[in-house]
Symmetry: C2
Subunit: 105 residues, 2 copies
DNA sequence: TCTACGTTTCAAGAGTTCTATAAGTATCAT
DNA sequence: ATGATACTTATAGAACTCTTGAAACGTAGA
């Protein structure tokens, strides 16, 4: 991953609402959630949530799929994987043991 | 790591300058760099850099040590490790294999 | 003590992001 | 078609972040 790709991801995760959205979407897994469900679950007005979902989608952290008149959102695990790899490689000088990463333990 | 701890870290990394500072500090390792060196290396005015260093320090990503009239900054690897663990646990539902983390490969 | 140096703090301005209300688009049921 | 539902976009104001220049602070050396 390039710095130019990592930056918008950090920007996207640097809001409490967006971090909540993403964590929730990760937790529900591949089923994802529809915008209205997210709005109710997190108690964020739909119009505001839409704004933040756009940021998350733009960063690629979340994908949107139309489902009738609903809009289903899902967390993008692949990108999260890439981000973790970026932090491990780029930010740990390519030496995972330097950061004590024990993701495989 | 708690969400309340992760959020300021994402905020801190969501600026190009701060991400550059952090990556550079990681690269130079335990030696760290003094403010003036960082300013010259990244071509950021001292006063602006100081502003960003404060954000990074506040988030805990960087530590500052006085050295005569210099201020030496170092990357906080331990926190980066915690962040990676947070992303792996919290954001990958505690199932690293779900994210395909291969930091140990 | 005086001056120079490295860095931070302060204050002001421009630019961005956030939130809310209102209006718009698309889908479904009748 | 009509009306209701689900969601997004537009717009505007408040709040925040960023950048800069000037001033202040602390340390070091003459």
């Amino acid at each position: 991953m390039e710095k130019n790709a990592a930056l918008p991801i950090f920007e996207a995760l640097s809001s409490g609402i967006r971090l909540d959205v993403f964590r929730l979407l990760v937790r529900v897994g591949p089923a994802g959630m529809v915008a209205g469900e997210l709005s109710a679950a997190l108690d964020v007005p739909p119009t505001n949530l839409s704004f933040h979902l756009k940021t998350l989608t733009h960063a690629g952290l979340v994908s949107a799929e139309q489902e009738g008149r609903f809009q289903r959102y899902r967390a993008n695990m692949a990108l999260m994987r890439e981000l973790i790899a970026y932090l491990t490689e780029e930010c740990c000088t390519g030496m995972p043991e330097l950061c004590g990463v024990d993701a495989c333990a």
